[in-house]
Symmetry: C2
Subunit: 190 residues, 2 copies
């Protein structure tokens, strides 16, 4: 697949076919993509926790804040929840500064997920102390991002931004609309 | 190309065939990949400056700190310098917090560069105030990353990490070696 098509298909999905399991091997292959991606000063301070068992997923979901702009929606219902999670940690014994390593890694992972028919959402809005307790994450590790993964069941439509309003929204057919700024707005000159 | 092959080819290149020009259109297409990538709360606060003229590139290069681990090497010599730069700015009129948006965007751009036969390096080690003056960048914009681009002329070899030493190095044939941690080291459990 051309990269542009892969990127267009890599949307932030929040509703999944929960019955579609994700194998540990698939997740390992996704981490390998992150492993081979750039890292600031090549320090490679990121570590990964992988969860794909229903009881594990059940433990993680309460620590996630879903879709801030959808006030009426409190996260995926049973049957539509993620079938796997990758938690990206920063290992403070390597560095205290993770730069944008987790952004780079997350993008590689999400593109890789799309390639194998999965999708998901990068989540930074995390109840970190709650999650740390639930998963017994030692203080040495900073909780950077959660990647929720699954087989998407929602249709996402990219719209142009109107009136500078970038809030995503759902229409009556539950299509999820994401307004994207134009190239003209993003490329600037002085 | 499979994503894994694309990611393996997307190394941090610092030596280029400077005579190989990059068109403005190619750069616009790369920004479009970033535009279509994820952004925290969909705020899309990143803006992009594009430079592909030799005299522009000449102005930018003094503000870059190259390859911290190569003490003997002070950056690419004439003839091997980048033929283009993308500077990623954070627009503080949109948000003061850019999260890892620029990591996500940079990875999309660098993968796109590889796809069209280019390569480059994400650079965060920037003399920011010097660059701000040189390019007349208003205070409203935070300078986040420079992406140096060109047609790579160096051979990069991924090695396993030995003795926890992650410093990249060059051998006598000028092959650039990058030690990468193993998957076993990155995937952890508690």
């Amino acid at each position: 697949m051309q990269l542009k098509d892969l990127i267009i298909k890599t949307r932030s999905y929040r509703r999944f076919d929960e019955s579609h399991a994700i194998s540990y091997h698939e997740m390992e292959n996704l981490i390998d993509l992150a492993r081979l991606s750039a890292s600031a000063a090549n320090r490679q301070p990121l570590k990964y926790l992988l969860y794909n068992k229903p009881e594990e997923c059940e433990m993680i979901i309460p620590s996630i804040a879903w879709a801030a702009y959808l006030k009426e929606w409190h996260g995926p219902v049973r049957g539509e929840r993620p079938a796997g999670y990758i938690i990206i940690l920063g290992d403070k014994s390597i560095t205290e500064s993770f730069s944008v390593d987790h952004g780079i890694a997350a993008q590689s992972i999400m593109l890789g997920a799309t390639e194998i028919g999965l999708g998901g959402c990068m989540i930074a809005s995390i109840k970190r102390e709650e999650l740390r307790k639930t998963l017994s994450i030692p203080d040495r590790f900073e909780i950077l991002l959660i990647l929720a993964l699954g087989k998407p069941v929602e249709n996402i439509i990219i719209d142009p931004v109107k009136d500078n309003d970038i809030k995503y929204w759902r229409d009556e057919k539950l299509n999820h609309h994401v307004p994207k700024r134009s190239l003209d707005e993003l490329i600037i000159k002085f």
